[in-house]
């Protein structure tokens, strides 16, 4: 609790409301002062993540030049780390919208302080997720053939294919998430425009789309935001359901299951919330947002993680039950092999991290311990990443034909490079976002300050 003590203005309360703010100007300035004057540590982080992005780009370039053989995918495990990353990042993308839109609709006041950051996270994560299907393509240079547009080749995508569903789902999700995020940010951009001068003011003015703060503006803003929230909410469910159909519509044992859509959505929210914890806890410390991101907010997230963890655990159990109950021998073998075979260590890490570790959050002591929360967030992320690998690579490794069984052993150096690149890109974008855009919604913050506290 050292950083709590370091800020005498902060005290803990049971509500999710921002603490210690006494004027709207205070609110403006606390957010805005975090912008534009980074220290060397910030630049160091930007440089390191930028380097990571370069590593990823070089790795991808090398893979395009030589072929997918640069990754250790093989027959029969044709998909491995790339699509694991894809599903993982789509999963991460979920919590952002979930927090912003669903909690907005449910009027959960604690969302205010985290919504902007988690929306940004959503967009970056979807962008990165969207890269992975491209990275994994054998001939990425003709990827546009998947787009349904009239062309001279008289060719048309196959709408039976889950991969076409994917393109539609992901691009829709990216568009809506972006609009939701951007719409919510317009008044803030205007605020920044008003509190800056010169070039900055002009740039933010341009981005603020001429916001003037009149009644009409606010009315339209409120309606649009509500609509986007309402539009984004079903997308949270649909996009990951569609992603799950990439697998569930396949006939491989381990994939071909109707539980996949809810199971994947729960898993996505599970990992998304974990990612929120992992991002917000340092953010809170670095930017001294303890008053805004109160421990209560984090506790709420932790409680939701318990729920998603239990859903995920239930799904695991149901999968195993169904594999036996169905009488389908390859299916039964698949799940037995998951527990005992080559990837069993991944499987058990997955079960422990995703199901058993979150149970610790039942204890308030754990829920309110930042270090514990942060560690659990990391563990859940690892568990969820492994879950995707177990589902994707594990299922393929033991398909119908025993002669063609084989295992994907480990990621190649190129796959590591791309993995590093993807995480670097995420943090790189997040760092830029944190510097150039308000990480907490100033507008909502102001709304959340109790009127009786306003002094100026």
């Amino acid at each position: 609790m050292t950083f709590v003590e370091s800020n005498p203005r902060t005290y803990l309360m049971e509500s999710g409301q921002p603490q210690g703010l006494t004027s709207y100007a205070d609110a403006d300035m606390q957010i805005i002062r975090t912008m534009w004057h980074p220290g060397t540590f910030y630049w160091f982080c930007v440089a390191m993540t930028g380097l990571g992005v370069a590593v990823g780009a070089i790795a991808w370039g090398y893979q395009i030049a030589t072929g997918i053989g640069a990754a250790n995918v093989m027959h029969p495990v044709m998909w491995a780390s790339y699509l694991t990353n894809f599903v993982f990042w789509v999963g991460i993308a979920h919590s952002g919208t979930l927090i912003s839109a669903i909690l907005f609709l449910f009027r959960a006041s604690w969302r205010t302080s985290v919504s902007r950051a988690s929306e940004a996270m959503t967009i970056f994560a979807v962008m990165i997720a969207g890269l992975f299907p491209l990275i994994h393509l054998g001939r990425v240079w003709i990827v546009y053939w998947i787009l349904p547009y009239p062309n001279q080749r008289n060719l048309w995508p196959n709408f039976q294919s889950p991969l076409v569903f994917d393109v539609i789902a992901i691009s829709t999700y990216l568009t809506v998430s972006f609009l939701f995020w951007y719409t919510g940010m317009i008044p803030d951009l205007a605020t920044i425009r008003d509190r800056t001068t010169g070039m900055k003011s002009r740039i933010y003015g341009f981005l603020a789309l001429g916001w003037e703060g009149s009644n009409d503006y606010w009315r339209h803003y409120g309606t649009a935001y509500l609509f986007f929230a309402a539009l984004a909410t079903p997308l949270v469910i649909s996009v990951h359901s569609v992603v799950s159909w990439d697998f569930a519509l396949g006939i491989s044992p381990g994939w071909h299951s109707t539980i996949f859509a809810p199971y994947f959505v729960a898993g996505a929210i599970h990992s998304g919330l974990a990612m929120v914890l992992v991002l917000l806890i340092p953010l809170r410390k670095i930017y001294k947002f303890e008053n805004l991101l109160t421990i209560n907010v984090l506790e709420q997230i932790a409680r939701t993680i318990i729920l998603t963890g239990l859903i995920v655990g239930y799904s695991y159990a149901v999968e195993h039950f169904m594999s036996v109950y169905s009488g389908n021998e390859p299916e039964r073998f698949q799940y037995e092999w998951r527990m005992t075979g080559y990837y069993s260590w991944l499987y058990w890490i997955m079960v422990v991290c995703n199901v058993f570790v979150p149970i610790a959050l039942f204890f308030k002591k754990v829920r309110t311990n930042l270090k514990a929360l942060f560690s659990i967030g990391i563990l859940v992320l690892i568990g969820m990443w492994f879950e995707r690998l177990v589902i994707i690579a594990g299922s393929q490794a033991r398909e119908y034909d025993p002669y063609s069984w084989g295992v994907y052993k480990y990621p190649s150096i190129v796959e590591w490079g791309i993995l590093i690149g993807s995480f670097s890109l995420f943090f790189f974008l997040f760092l830029l976002f944190a510097k150039f855009l308000p990480t907490i919604s100033i507008t909502e913050l102001k709304e959340a300050i109790p009127p009786e506290e306003i002094k100026g």
């Binding site: 997918i68 054998g138 039976q160 889950p162 021998e329 025993p402 002669y403």
Partner: protein
């Protein structure tokens, strides 16, 4: 090639003949870019076919080579040829990789001052050889020149002998074959008074017992035997002939048997003697003359069935069962391996097998000593050892080598390489570098069999022809031409009057022409020979049965003590023969039938023994006998009995080109060094090795994911009784027809596919499949399938479109094969998942993969339950000149795209065009796929299901028919017929 008619053939022949005559006038043009000088009558885009003979082993199968734009791109069996009958084995299919081997000698070379081979001109090379020969001839003395070749016959053998005699040498020609069958010949001498390898005919038998003879793999004439086995063994009507294999290892041949009698290595003869004893004691065969009975009784006096079983290490019931079957059969036959290098007591076993054959006169109908195999001419191990001794003693001045590689395949202890160092002049005519040729001072590379004129006779009455199918790939010349031109230099034009070897060949064949007494000119006789691919007079008269002697023969008494250490079985494989094909990419890449291993040798050890010895797959172990030591990775597998190790020959090359070198291990180095004085073969008292784990490992590049099929009914068998019962009841198999009539509203989401004119389909009769893998190489060759090499096979990235999957039966631990290829499903799971329609269902039912359309999501492969789709992980390349083999009718696939079996769509299209020109539809049998064409047992049958009269239409309703993974409702168009099993009881 089945649609190659006489007219086309003559046309092609004409081109070839003209080219050859023209090229005889001067040094042949060596342009390798086709059509700088376009030959007449050859149309770009239209293939020309020439008959020739496979020279990859002494079996001498007739081939048809396909030439496109001046390059040979495919070989098939010659349907008219009595040995190949339109089929080829894996080695024959891969012969193109010998032709296009990038490590062939590129031109004449001599060893320079630095000790390296340096290129020289042909003139200089031949002058050098001529002056050396001149010097030796001037000094006089015979036996100073030794001409060491592999088995050659006919005109080239004649020319060699003539050349040597002109140089004043007698008996200088040594024909070395690793497998000289000394023990078999000795046994034939003992029992049938015939020191020869006879012609065996297996197709007319009704019972066969093989004593360790792997006649489907390397034994004498494996392709011919495989074809005959395809007549002998599969279900005929409601009957199936029985085949028993006796031997220490479950070889591919053994696995085709109805009963495998496991014996201790080298004790197979005990089983034969036990059988004899039972037959005699029980009077199971009537009509054995009394003197014969007495003779055999004396020989088997010591060999009661219990003793025999104890000596052989098998169950006595099995011996009596085998004896019973043998006695009951009308035309039984026993064969034995007769290669002492592979087994102790090889002569004894062969004698015992021959004695079994004397019981029933019908057995001898299948053995024809009147037409001995040319193997009978090869030098024995004893004479090779004598040659090494003579060389070491300095009695040889000049060693000429052509295609023989004794340094690799003779026992390591004889040190043939060391002996060669005592020979001042070593000249190699071999087309490619090998361990022996690499020691030569002068290299005058001869043409490969596809580039040269010649003839080869595998056995009396059958002569195959060789003609240049294309210009030489490298700066090489025909061996006959080299001999003629050096002969002219040493002697004179009068001694060597031929302009080139072609004329000498024609001269040789004028004798046959005169003998044939045929009408017409020699020219037409000759053209006919070339067109048919050789000379095999019609309907050879049957030879008289061999006489049977009663000379005493003593067998080692039962109760011999085994040697110290682990018994080792060394065995040859169908892909490598004796190692001579190890530089052919395809045979390295295609998995071994039993072990499914590629790229490198292994040591088979029973899994339980391996566990006891703490050996895992790929642990490098050292095998040390009294005579040598090799290191090879351990492979725990059920093909050997507990406590026995088995190593295949063929790998372990040290100087055989980039594809063969450095792979473990050469078990010829473990061979005993003694000589069996009676047979002249290697004296093998049984091999026993001390096995030591080295601690290092060598990963085994295998392609099998599991030994077991885990109860998933990929392979299915049916007992003969059950099959007959079902057939009698008129039981219909359950088949999800890949036709509109297979549509079932209750389980099909999408409407049925309507087909136009054809619905291509394949029937795979697993009762016929012998697991040989010829189909796989045929496919690689036809469809430009990439070879990925060891590192990528280890990653599981082999590209085969068709594969012979091997599983072990969970109970019997016998192997079961399943030929797996794209099933061209009518409800294909791979089709609907592709986002851009790269797999597309054609109106003829083909599941077409459109390469240009594919961008490599690999979802189709993920969703393919048969796992037959292959992804191009890289743009796989082929070093020059291997790429000349590529079939121009088939796209070479780029990195990042999926490929798979196309049912040879290029052949389908070609057949449709031809049929259209004739104004009709394609008929059943007009053409077939590459795999089906080369299958020696006709296990693969291709055709259209829309034709109710086609073979496939008739076969898919066989009671044995089933589809793999039918429960997935894929409606596969590849329909399997169950293997028929039958129990052999006492």
């Amino acid at each position: 090639m089945q649609n190659l008619n006489r007219r086309e053939f003559l046309k092609l022949f004409g081109v070839c003949g003209t080219g050859a005559v023209l090229s005889g006038c001067s040094e042949p043009k060596r342009y390798l870019i086709p059509y700088i000088d376009p030959p007449e009558d050859v149309t770009p885009g239209v293939a020309a076919y020439y008959a020739t003979t496979c020279r990859e082993c002494p079996a001498g199968c007739g081939m048809i080579a396909k030439n496109r734009e001046g390059r040979v791109i495919k070989v098939e069996g010659n349907p008219a040829h009595p040995i190949s009958g339109g089929k080829l084995c894996m080695r024959g299919q891969a012969s193109l990789h010998g032709l296009y081997n990038p490590d062939r000698f590129t031109g004449p070379m001599r060893r320079g001052a630095t000790g390296q081979l340096e290129p020289i001109k042909w003139e200089n090379g031949q002058d050098l050889l001529a002056s050396t020969v001149n010097g030796i001839a001037r000094r006089g003395g015979t036996g100073r020149i030794v001409f060491l070749t592999d088995l050659i016959t006919g005109s080239l053998e004649d020319m060699t002998a003539y050349w040597l005699s002109e140089m004043g040498q007698q008996n200088g020609h040594v024909m070395y074959e690793t497998y000289a069958y000394e023990s078999l010949r000795q046994a034939n001498k003992v029992v049938f008074e015939n020191d020869a390898v006879p012609t065996y005919r297996l197709d007319g038998l009704d019972f066969l017992i093989s004593f360790n003879a792997d006649f489907l793999e390397t034994w004498i004439s494996n392709l011919e035997f495989a074809r005959q086995f395809g007549e002998f063994h599969p279900l005929k009507g409601d009957k199936k002939n029985k085949f028993i294999f006796v031997g220490p290892r479950l070889s591919m041949t053994a696995n085709n048997a109805d009963l495998w009698i496991q014996t201790r290595p080298g004790m197979e003869y005990a089983v034969a003697l036990g059988m004899l004893r039972i037959i005699l004691d029980g009077g199971l065969i009537k009509g054995i003359p009394a003197d014969r009975r007495a003779y055999l009784g004396a020989i088997t006096a010591d060999w009661s069935v219990e003793k025999a079983a104890a000596a052989a290490g098998c169950d006595p019931g099995m011996i009596s069962a085998a004896a019973g079957e043998f006695a009951r059969a009308a035309r039984p036959m026993a064969i034995a391996d007769g290669r002492s290098m592979f087994s102790a007591n090889a002569t004894e076993t062969a004698v015992a097998a021959n004695l079994l054959c004397t019981l029933n006169p019908k057995s001898l109908d299948a053995v024809d000593f009147g037409r001995p195999h040319s193997y009978s001419k090869t030098a024995s191990a004893q004479s090779m050892k004598g040659l090494a001794d003579r060389m070491r003693a300095g009695e040889v001045d000049l060693l000429l080598i052509y295609r023989a590689n004794p340094v690799f395949s003779l026992p390591g202890e004889w040190d043939f390489a060391g002996a060669m160092k005592s020979v001042p002049n070593v000249v190699s005519f071999s087309p490619a570098v090998d361990e022996t040729s690499s020691l030569a001072n002068l290299v005058l590379p001869a043409n490969y069999s596809f580039e040269t004129w010649g003839d080869y006779s595998p056995r009396q009455g059958v002569s195959g022809f060789l003609q240049p199918i294309m210009g030489p790939v490298f700066n090489t010349r025909g061996l006959g031409d080299i001999l003629i031109s050096t002969g002219k230099k040493v002697k004179s034009e009068i001694s060597f009057p031929w302009r080139d070897f072609n004329l000498a060949l024609q001269g040789y064949w004028t004798r046959a022409y005169k003998d044939s007494g045929g009408s017409g000119t020699f020219r037409s006789f000759w053209e006919n020979l070339l067109m048919r691919g050789g000379y095999w007079p019609q309907s050879p008269s049957p030879s008289p049965a061999p006489s049977i002697t009663t000379t005493a023969f003593s067998f080692p008494a039962p109760g011999q003590k085994p040697g110290k250490g682990m018994p080792v079985v060394v065995y040859p494989t169908i892909q490598f023969f004796d190692g001579r094909t190890a530089n052919h990419l395809w045979v390295q890449e295609i998995p071994d039938s039993m072990t499914q291993t590629t790229w490198g040798g292994w040591v088979e050890i029973h899994p339980e023994t391996a566990r006891e010895m703490d050996l895992g797959k790929g642990d490098l172990i050292e095998m040390k006998t009294d005579f040598g030591v090799v290191e090879a990775p351990a492979l725990p597998i059920y093909t050997v009995p507990k406590g026995v190790a088995a190593i295949p020959v063929g790998q372990g090359h040290t100087n055989f080109g980039r594809f063969a070198d450095g792979l473990p291990a050469n078990p010829f180095k473990l061979m005993p060094s003694g000589i069996d004085m009676t047979s002249g073969g290697i004296g093998n008292p049984g091999m026993y090795a001390a096995v030591r784990k080295t601690g290092a490992s060598f990963d085994i590049a295998h392609t099998d994911g599991s030994f077991s099929q885990h109860g998933r009914d990929f392979w299915q068998t049916i007992s003969l009784d059950e099959r007959n019962k079902m057939a009698a009841n008129g039981t219909q198999p359950y088949i999800d027809y890949p036709l509109p009539k297979g549509y079932d509203e209750s389980k099909d989401f999408y409407p049925p596919h309507e087909h136009k004119d054809y619905r291509w389909s394949m029937v795979v009769d697993m009762d016929r499949c012998i697991g040989c893998g010829a189909c796989v190489v045929g496919c690689y060759s036809e469809n430009n399938v990439a070879v990925v090499k060891r590192e990528q096979v280890l990653m599981g990235r082999e590209m085969s479109w068709i594969r012979v999957q091997r599983y072990f039966d969970d109970e019997t631990k016998l192997a079961r094969w399943l030929v797996m290829l794209c099933q061209h499903c009518d409800n294909a799971p791979c089709e609907y998942v592709c986002p851009i329609f790269a797999p597309q269902h054609s109106v003829e039912g083909l599941n077409n993969q459109i390469y240009n359309r594919c961008f490599g999501t690999r979802f189709c492969s993920q969703n393919d339950p048969y796992k037959v789709r292959r992804f191009n992980w890289y743009s796989f390349s082929r070093p020059s000149p291997l790429k000349w083999q590529l079939n121009p009718d088939v796209t070479v696939r780029q990195k990042g795209i999926m490929e798979k079996c196309s049912f040879c769509v290029q052949r389908i299209i070609e057949a449709k065009i031809e049929a259209r020109q004739k104004g009709r539809k394609v008929k059943d049998g007009d053409f077939t796929t590459a795999c089906a064409q080369t299958c020696p047992t006709n296990a693969l049958i291709f055709g259209s299901l829309l034709d109710p009269e086609s073979r496939v239409s008739r076969m898919i309703n066989d009671v044995r028919a089933y589809q793999v993974l039918v429960e997935l409702n894929t409606k596969p168009a590849v329909i399997y017929l169950k293997r028929v099993t039958q129990e052999i009881r006492a």
